[in-house]
């Protein structure tokens, strides 16, 4: 026996070392059904601790050299660029005014729909300092860890789109699993078609949207956003665009996605360290034109059921004439049952007022969501079939209503924009 062992000593050692590693592998797989950072934490800390300081130093030196060159020596064309940027700022200011109007309107609509929003309340900027060095493990290391408040499963993104999630947190560095890794999974939704799916990476680093039924139509070029269903990424963050749609297996489509963030050249990323979910509320200082309020109280011709959505939106944007009140009938119908009484006492806020709340409008002295409280107040609300659902009986009339006409509508029939769900 001893002679056999002596003769095949090298082979015996090889088998022994391999056996130990296979045993270790099997234990890791058995414990976690995949990877488990906690089980292998110590050994990974050693490995990462040996490599990342060098990476950090190199990135620091590289950035320092680059900054000296770009900030002090290579300033050619800066003046022209500065002028161009100033012009761009002016354009963006104009755009911002328009967008803020849209955002205010969206907030009011969300209030009506009682949507819960997720707000990214705090992010930590981090520098990418290293990678796994293997195309089979698509992870990167960032220079912020537990000390900076980073925790496992936090979302990581750039200005362009999502990048991945924090997988393992060390004191001063963290490992981020990219969305292109095959073990990654992100809840995603197509922007226009509103189809939901699961974003997964493949073995060769591509990003695919899975679980979309093959009988659905998905156009190439459509934007993909996060759906929020994974409880990691807030809803609505850009993910990428559809580049190829093919027939997959098991009745699902094979949708290839080009990530919005350049995953192969990441330098700085943002870690979403704090998300707050809160009820959407309309801005308190939104101005409402008296004409809008009046328009809501007046009886109007009911809308045709098959009103084109675009036409409605265009009309809603247009003005606060009674027509605006009519066009808002669709959102109101959807919103009425869900409107929280805490935010909007009557629960019958309509979109028409919101849409007509232009900057030139006269302040009505009440927030937009409260503006038609007076309309259903009192006996006037009783005949309406939806009033019992949306307006608590013990709701006191708002003082702000003194600025608006409080007479009940002459016609007990509800205006089109305040009708129940259609």
């Amino acid at each position: 026996m001893e002679s056999v062992l002596g003769r095949y000593r090298n082979l015996v050692i090889l088998v022994g070392v391999l056996f130990l590693q296979v045993l270790g592998l099997a234990m890791q797989v058995k414990r976690s059904g995949g990877t488990d950072a906690e089980n292998t934490r110590l050994i990974r800390i050693w490995g990462v601790g040996a490599i990342t300081p060098f990476e950090r130093i190199l990135v620091w030196a590289q950035n320092g050299t680059g900054n000296i060159w770009h900030n002090y020596f290579y300033l050619r064309g800066v003046r022209a660029e500065n002028r161009q940027l100033k012009e761009q700022i002016e354009q963006m200011r104009l755009e911002q005014v328009r967008l803020s109007e849209d955002a205010a309107q969206a907030r009011r609509l969300q209030t009506l729909l009682a949507f819960k929003e997720q707000f990214i309340s705090r992010t930590v900027a981090a520098q990418v300092i290293g990678s796994s060095g293997s195309d089979l493990s698509r992870t990167v290391y960032i220079d912020k860890g537990e000390n900076a408040g980073i925790k496992r499963d936090m979302a990581v993104m750039t200005a362009d789109g999502i990048v991945g999630k924090v997988l393992i947190v060390y004191p001063s560095v963290s490992q981020v699993l990219l969305i292109s890794d095959q073990s990654s999974g992100v809840g995603a939704i197509l922007e226009k078609t509103r189809l939901q799916g699961v974003l997964r990476g493949t073995a060769n680093g591509e990003v695919m949207l899975e679980r979309v039924m093959s009988d659905e139509q998905v156009p190439v070029g459509e934007t993909v956003l996060t759906s929020g269903g994974d409880q990691i990424f807030p809803k609505g963050l850009p993910v990428g665009t559809v580049t190829k749609v093919g027939k997959g297996k098991d009745l699902f489509l094979n949708i290839k996605i080009k990530p919005a963030a350049n995953l192969s050249k990441l330098e700085e990323v943002l870690v979403l360290v704090e998300n707050k979910e809160r009820q959407a509320t309309a801005e308190e200082n939104v101005r409402v034109r008296a004409a809008d309020i009046l328009a809501q109280r007046l009886p109007s011709v009911p809308d045709k059921p098959a009103t084109d959505a675009n036409a409605a939106a265009a009309t809603a944007e247009g003005s606060a004439k009674p027509a605006g009140a009519k066009t808002a009938a669709q959102p109101t119908g959807a919103a009425t049952p869900a409107t929280p009484s805490g935010k909007s006492p009557s629960g019958t806020s309509t979109v028409s007022g919101a849409s007509g709340a232009g900057p030139e409008g006269k302040p009505a002295g009440a927030p937009a969501v409260k503006k038609n409280v007076a309309a259903p107040a009192g006996p006037a609300t009783a005949p309406r079939p939806d009033a019992t659902q949306t307006s608590p009986a013990n709701e006191p009339p708002k003082p702000a209503d003194s600025t608006a006409p409080t007479e009940p509508p002459p016609n007990p029939q509800p205006p089109a924009n305040e009708s129940g769900p259609q």
């Binding site: 090889l14 797989v29 950072a37 060095g133 293997s134």
Partner: protein, 173 residues
């Protein structure tokens, strides 16, 4: 072909100083982890820790030393990723053992031999990794011969250059 069969008495066994033994694999791991940030395709085609494993194993010409070198470098490489630790470890252990066993039998000091040996061991490494990842860990893996051969050739060419550079650290026993 310049590969020549040599007897055990003819082959020279080399050793390395401790800083080189520790520093070179660490540097290889560091470069392997850092360069893909600037050159994303680097990680797809090159495996510097593998080249270092082959070099040390062939130079030491001791199967036990070779397999332990491969195991340590492979495990260290596993630590940087998020996959279970041991996949690279197993693959590089086998490569280390094979390379040092081959080093005992053949003269692998010239460029042609090194090119072929590196190409061969790259493919062995890829095959073992593929088998372990798919068979033991149940990872989704796809085997591609064109990619494997292309990456093998790229590593072989880089390996030849790297080996001549690392030859400077050899110390005769």
């Amino acid at each position: 072909m310049p590969i020549t069969y040599t007897s055990n008495e003819q082959v020279e066994v080399y050793r390395f100083s401790i800083p080189v033994t520790i520093g070179v694999p660490l540097l290889a791991l560091f470069v392997q982890a850092f360069l893909p940030l600037r050159f994303p395709r680097f990680a797809v085609y090159f495996d510097l820790p593998l080249l270092v494993t082959i070099f040390f194993a062939m130079a030491r010409r001791s199967p036990v030393a070779g397999l332990f070198t491969g195991a340590v470098i492979g495990l260290a490489q596993d630590m940087l990723g998020h996959n279970p630790i041991g996949i690279y470890g197993i693959a590089k252990t086998i490569v280390g053992y094979g390379a040092s066993s081959l080093g005992v039998k053949l003269d692998v000091e010239n460029a042609g031999a090194r090119l072929l040996v590196t190409l061969g061991f790259y493919l062995i490494h890829a095959a073992v990794y593929f088998t372990v990842a798919r068979g033991l860990v149940n990872m989704t893996q796809t085997w591609s011969w064109p990619r494997g051969i292309l990456a093998g050739l790229a590593n072989a060419i880089l390996g030849v250059a790297l080996f001549f550079l690392l030859d400077k650290f050899k110390q005769r026993t």
